[in-house]
């Protein structure tokens, strides 16, 4: 931090007090508005935990059962509350256990600050007990990280950490603090960071680009919007809706953009991507202007890039300059916060309807309904489908719940069929696809907005990756609803084996324990259903519960998720069966 005084702009606050580095960490967190942290103690972070004990009336600490759980809980908390999630761990194994959650937060742009303890600075590099180079390990998966070896660095680095985590394209930051820095006393004063000279978190929006974009949108005959999580992170839900309605443009969401627009909005055509809806996927390759809002053209969205939207002029609204023209070449790129860019574009947009073009989406929806949706939601065969479970959750929650999903078939089904009428309601691991995400993320989501109903939808495989967090639920009383869709398989991998590996089900069959007993062992109300006639009642009972509730649904073992765009195929080659 040789150049820190030059590089960092701060808000001045002139009170100093002589305290330890550990206590300083708490004061920094409080100054940043943090009231909840997730973590797990150990030798190298004990001074900070000791301060947490003293400050427990102001700063609540949730003890998860594994550090990975702490990061996912912090992510769930951040995604629902819009605030920065905070996770803490000790050095060595504690720190390395955070890495999966950090990588997940990085690729899904989730604001998070992780604090790790580290061995004393005179031991650094000596392979001391529980020493790992967590700064080196986490470098490729953090937006920024830093090691603190003296207490006096704490305020400035913490201020910078929060500023970086939440500004621009949000992301995770890791701060590693040696034990001596936690013990050391120094004169503490705190100043919030308001800018860093080498980091431009708010790019200037170019007027000419705004005009070009408006012009393209106004001239388009078949315009199509794909929005991503940038809309939610940039709080641009209202602007998105205004654009759609004013210009009469059909729109679809990426996996992480879901819930930014009401599911039932008449111009919402669903989800794009590998298991997205038929219409928006196929018509991506027919639109004349593709308007991408706060999304990054992930390969699960685009399929084969050489055939993706080749006929279309692409207008890209994006905050991260490195995303522009990274995967898809744009005609016009508007760099900046999407809310502000849309506010600038909106007055230049003509009223329009594009009725015939909407009709194309409706036609495709009818095809998808007949071939896929009908069988998923109203099956005639005996076995329960994942789709009908989600349908019952929709009905019982009246579209108001936060749906947290794990990774696999159930995730795609839930994201396809869950209905939302409020933003920040869809919490899932998109970019990393982390099994084990949902249970701890649901805990964080519930704490991020305790008024809301939180339903975690998890597969039998992923559930067992972080099942220990049932202990956190029991201890904290977090009233999350857990639905395990049990097909006794690692379903999504089994589906690929069926379709692309001649049904060779290598290591995808699961012999599962009695999940109900396990939940009950943690004193969580639990039920199992395997018959259609019991489903609705069970879901209603779960939703009516004031406390946490576990529901296992035995579903058809070998159902598949369609539509599907096989890896490397064109979006217009989407398969319906």
């Amino acid at each position: 931090m040789e150049t820190k005084t030059l590089t960092q702009k701060q808000e001045k606050k002139e009170t100093t007090m002589r305290i330890s580095g550990a206590e300083a960490v708490i004061h920094c967190l409080l100054a940043e508005g943090v009231d909840l942290v997730y973590g797990y103690p150990g030798g190298a972070i004990m001074p900070i935990y000791d301060e947490l004990y003293k400050f427990q009336d102001k700063l609540h600490h949730v003890l998860t059962r594994h550090e990975q759980g702490a990061t996912h809980a912090a992510q769930g908390y951040a995604r629902v509350s819009g605030k920065v999630g905070v996770a803490m761990a000790t050095s060595g194994p504690g720190a390395t256990n955070l890495v999966t959650g950090i990588a997940d937060a990085q690729i899904d742009s989730t604001p998070m600050v992780c604090i790790t303890g580290q061995v004393a600075s005179h031991l650094l590099g000596s392979d001391a007990f529980q020493e790992t180079d967590i700064v080196g390990i986490s470098t490729p998966v953090t937006k920024w990280n830093h090691q603190i070896t003296s207490a006096s660095e704490i305020p400035e680095v913490m201020a910078k950490a929060f500023y970086i985590a939440r500004s621009g394209r949000p992301g995770p930051v890791l701060i590693d603090i040696t034990k001596n820095a936690q013990f050391e006393e120094f004169d503490f004063s705190y100043e919030k960071c308001t800018g860093i000279r080498s980091y431009n978190s708010k790019p200037e929006i170019e007027k000419s680009k705004v005009e070009q974009a408006a012009d393209l949108i106004n001239k388009a005959k078949k315009p199509f919007i794909v929005w991503g999580q940038g809309i939610i992170l940039g709080q641009a839900e209202e602007e998105l809706k205004q654009l759609i309605e004013k210009a009469g443009i059909p729109a679809a969401s990426t996996l992480l953009g879901l819930s930014a627009l009401d599911s039932d909005h008449e111009f919402n055509t669903g989800m794009v991507g590998m298991h997205g809806n038929y219409g928006p996927n196929v018509l991506t390759n027919e639109c004349d202007v593709l308007i991408a809002l706060g999304m990054r053209f992930d390969d699960r969205v685009t399929g084969d890039l050489s055939t993706y939207a080749k006929q279309a002029k692409v207008v890209h609204f994006e905050i991260d300059p490195a995303e522009i023209d990274k995967n898809v070449k744009t005609e016009v790129a508007i760099l900046g916060n999407v809310k502000e860019s849309l506010q600038r574009v909106l007055p230049l947009i003509d009223n329009n309807k594009h009725e015939a073009w909407h009709g194309e989406f409706k036609k495709r929806y009818a095809i998808e309904f007949d071939e896929v949706i009908k069988n998923d939601l109203h099956p005639e065969k005996e076995g329960l489908t994942m789709g009908e479970v989600i349908d019952q959750i929709n009905k019982a929650s009246e579209h108001k719940a936060v749906i947290v999903t794990d990774v696999g078939q159930h995730q795609m089904i839930a994201c396809r069929y869950a209905k939302f009428n409020k933003t920040k309601s869809n919490i899932t691991s998109g970019g990393l696809g982390t099994m084990g995400f949902a249970l701890p993320a649901a805990i964080g989501a519930k704490m991020g907005d305790p008024e809301r109903e939180v339903v975690a939808v998890i597969g039998d495989g992923g559930y067992q990756m972080t099942i220990q967090e049932l202990g956190t639920i029991f201890q904290t009383g977090a009233a999350v609803k857990i639905v395990v869709l049990n097909n006794d398989f690692l379903g999504m991998v089994r589906q690929w084996q069926q379709l692309f590996f001649d049904r060779r089900y290598a290591s995808t069959e699961l012999v599962n324990p009695d999940f109900v007993k396990i939940a009950e062992g943690y004193h969580i109300k639990a039920k199992r259903v395997s018959k259609r006639e019991d489903l609705q009642g069970a879901v209603q009972e779960m939703m009516a519960s004031e406390e946490a509730y576990f529901l296992e649904v035995k579903v058809e073992k070998e159902d598949n998720v369609f539509p599907m765009i096989p890896t490397g195929s064109s979006v217009s080659d989407v398969r319906l069966s």
């Binding site: 931090m1 150049t3 490729p140 990280n145």
Partner: protein
């Protein structure tokens, strides 16, 4: 297929621990070999300058510079072809001292190659040569038959022909904030 060529990537950054790791990771992640790397101070106090030479396509150069600029401590990054820069490397040759006196030819080589003698001791002498890679390689080939005790070559250092307006950028930052 776009052609690969030599690009010099220039990075102006804060002088912070760990940044080298972040930057090299960006190349590692894409399996790109760094041909040469040099880090030093720059014309601005407390601002470091990285000069990295890689053999890639232009679209990769553009994307990589985008990823590099995304790093918090990076102020600005550029990429240039050889034609757009003035660049040099420096090499040191350590050779047995008796050769300097016994072999007239070596003195001619030093003169003709415009290299200079840095030091002479009883056992060895050291020649420094600054220039393009091919010039250094030519000198190496000429000296090789006499026996080179040690040889080392620096990373490329380079300046661009066009302006790199870092000072203005930094001033603007002070104004905005």
């Amino acid at each position: 297929m776009e052609e690969k060529q030599t690009y010099t990537i220039s990075i102006y950054s804060e002088n912070n621990i760990g940044l080298l790791n972040r930057i090299s990771g960006i190349f590692l992640k894409r399996h790109i070999n760094i041909e040469s790397l040099n880090v030093s101070g720059s014309e601005i106090e407390n601002v470091s300058r990285f000069v990295i030479v890689v053999n890639i396509t232009e679209s990769w150069a553009r994307r990589i510079v985008g990823q590099i600029e995304k790093q918090i401590e990076v102020i600005k990054a550029y990429y240039h072809t050889d034609d757009e820069t003035i660049f040099q490397e420096t090499a040191l040759f350590k050779i047995k001292s008796d050769l300097l006196f016994d072999q007239r030819q070596i003195q001619n080589i030093i003169k003709e190659s415009h290299s200079e003698i840095v030091t002479v001791s009883r056992d060895f002498f050291v020649i420094a040569k600054t220039g393009r890679r091919y010039e250094i390689e030519a000198l190496y080939d000429e000296l090789q038959p006499y026996g080179i005790m040690q040889f080392t070559r620096s990373g490329r250092i380079s300046v661009s022909k066009e302006r790199m307006d870092i000072s203005t950028m930094l001033k603007e930052f002070q104004l905005i904030n």
